[in-house]
């Protein structure tokens, strides 16, 4: 590769600025190019991401019905109202519960299925496809499907239970205050475990067979190989899937809206559902914006903390290869 600045241009009309190798000017030009190329993306980011967030923040300080310009400034009233709202506090509790259930039950289940389907097994491709299929369905379709399946008495679930003599076992499903959240979690698991299973499968494929072979030769049993070999090497994948699962649980909306609209009596309501209720049903846009800001902050704090404390090991490896210092080190080593 030839560098433009090292070769002197033949035309004498060109001002001397271009002739001499001036690192400072060059760097400035590089910067200009970089900035110019970033501007479109940056403008879009400002316009479509940052501006709405700032606008929501602004609106959340008003008691505003969505008509005309916001004028009734109430300061942080909307936020203090949030902390007194039993529905919102319930949302937080239910969100936490769903996160705990997802991470504590759904992901281990997905991991177990992945380990099983990573074995040599007759028809494993069929199983993989079957388990992954629900993920492809839209949440709305899933919701409609399961509200029919879990319809009390007349639904498929109760009929199947009735047919095998378990009449009393089924029941209200989505219609009961105490049963709605477990039923919802069941549907979420049905829909999403296949996706996480696929992630884990991909991770498992990346673990060299030699390692397992070596461990076997060293006398490690199946559990030891899973615990001390598979699990650590699957770490990055697991950490990423936990992250996706938690963010998904925090933002859960479509499924709940279609199946229960947050009912019965708010027992399946999530933050996003409450937000929608206030923003688009009650037209209390100021309060709804406060909810959206709260949701944003929760997601942001979680994402940052997770990046900082959990994902650090994974991302650091990726970043260091791009940094200049190790490159210089390699160069030094090469020149030595």
């Amino acid at each position: 590769m030839t560098d433009t600045t090292t070769a002197a241009p033949p035309a004498p009309a060109v001002p001397p600025v271009h002739t001499a190798p001036r690192p400072l000017a060059r760097r400035a030009r590089d910067w200009l190019t970089a900035v110019l190329f970033t501007v479109p993306a940056l403008v879009l980011f400002l316009l479509l991401v940052l501006a709405p967030i700032l606008y929501a923040l602004y609106v959340s300080l008003f008691n505003w019905g969505g008509f005309g310009a916001p004028s009734d400034f109430v300061g942080l009233d909307n936020f203090s109202r949030l902390l007194d709202d039993p529905v919102f506090l319930g949302d937080l509790w239910r969100g936490l519960l769903l996160v705990a259930l997802s991470v504590g039950l759904q992901l281990p289940f997905a991991l177990a299925m992945a380990v099983v389907l990573n074995q040599r097994l007759r028809g494993r491709a069929v199983y993989r496809m079957l388990f992954f299929a629900p993920y492809v369905l839209s949440e709305v379709v899933t919701g409609v499907l399961f509200s029919m399946i879990f319809a009390p008495d007349s639904g498929l679930a109760d009929r199947v239970l009735g047919a095998i003599g378990l009449d009393g076992v089924g029941g209200l499903w989505f219609a009961g205050q105490d049963t709605v959240l477990p039923t919802l979690f069941l549907v979420m698991t049905w829909k999403y475990f296949g996706f996480h299973m696929m992630l884990y499968l991909a991770g498992l494929q990346g673990i060299p067979a030699e390692l397992h072979e070596a461990a076997r030769i060293d006398g490690a049993g199946p559990w030891q190989r899973f615990r001390y070999l598979t699990l650590p090497l699957l770490g990055p994948t697991i950490r990423m899937s936990v992250f996706l699962s938690v963010i998904g649980a925090i933002q859960l909306f479509d499924l709940v809206w279609v199946v229960t609209q947050g009912g019965p009596d708010h027992h399946s309501e999530t933050m996003a559902v409450t937000l929608f209720q206030f923003g688009f049903k009650r037209y209390q846009v100021g309060y709804a914006s406060a909810i959206s800001i709260a949701m944003f902050l929760i997601s942001l704090v979680f994402a940052l903390a997770y990046q900082r404390f959990v994902l650090r090991r994974d991302t650091e490896g990726a970043l260091t290869t791009m940094r200049t210092t190790p490159v210089r080190a390699t160069v030094k080593r090469a020149s030595r």
């Binding site: 190019t33 403008v43 008509f67 005309g68 219609a175 009912g263 019965p264 009596d265 037209y283 209390q284």
Partner: protein, 444 residues
Amino acid sequence: MPASERAPLPASGAASGLSRRRFLGTVPVAGLGVAVLTSCGDSDDSGAKDGSGRTVVEWWHISTSEPARGLWNARAKAFEAAHPDVRIKVVTLENDAFKSKLTALTSSGKLPDVYHTWGGGVLKQQVDAGLVEDLTDSVSTWIDTLVPASREPYEFDKKTYAVPNDIGAVGFWYNKALFKKAKIASPPTTWVAFLDTVRTLKAAGITPIALGGKEKWPGMYYWAYLAMRLAGVDGMQQAAEAKDFTGDAFVKAGEHLEDLVDLAPFQKGFLGAPYSSPTGQAATMGNGKTAMELMGQWAPREQAAAGKGIGDDLGFFPFPAVEGGKGRGTDVFGGGGGYALRKGAPQEAVDFLKYFVSAESERLLVKGTGIIPVNKDAQDALTDPNLKAVLAMLNKSTGFQLYLDQAYPPAVGQEVNDSVAALIAGSKSPEQVTRSVTQVAKSQ
């Protein structure tokens, strides 16, 4: 090759120092400029003239199901045929999509020329924001052809802001066969008798009432009717104006509803049941599994659509009178649909409204879709005995109360729905309901 990299660009005049790199640097900026320009060029043709010089009237309606949709659009075509200089641009939207889209448009300050409205608090908000055309003078010559009760939801301070095209009311729909099976001679006319009817039905092994608890508004009807019977239509009005629903009548309404809920009269899983779907309230009633439902004039149609429909077994009786209440048993709770015009809509839009609610047009709508007409001259087209019963109740009405979620500002209406749903689910007391509603009303 250093020289080629510095090759001047033919298009540029001052080519001396323009490198390819520098040129490339400008490209994304230019591209962005184009994107910004095109996004500004988006124009709206409503109220303007189209290519052939016709005035465009944009009409938003929510009749998404056939045959109503086809009929509505045919009306627009017929109007265009009679008025060659007008083009009706029809926009058909699903109910909820319409509401959220209209909300967005309302905050931007520009509504469609002619749009669907239920009147009441939502329309009032739009009127207060200065977005709705005052129709008082432009419709004065023909508005009297419409039933007075149907016009009430669209009038504020004696001014007309929208024109109704149908009307309806809520009452009990009951299964005559199941009543007969439980040996109930006639439908109840008082609340005490109503509770007895529920007990009798239960004793006969029949689920008395179908309720779609998931959607909340079907439950609100009970509380609203009870409050109306106890406070009277005037009392409802006063409470709305004073933003105070803590009065005795409203607490009592909750207590009466609690009495009903305590009898466990609803179908299994009613808290999660929707209104119109194969597992919902309408289907439960339409499949003959419950004896009653409290619903509007569209109930027979939905029963047949979501379930099988019970045909001649279906009967109708008004909401019973409540002992000791100020309201009369002939006061009616209901509402209908109408159309409002945006501020500054062309005169052709008014002409179209007049055409759409004319006796000739209404007769077609009655025959095609089974609405209850607002035009007095079209009432003879109604043949369905059940709808005639609703119309008879409307014609005899001594007072009219619009659906609460339409009459009150949206936040208050939703709070009523939500609190009453909580009362039915057993998590709020009658006093708590009135306090929650009052609190939201005062914050508006």
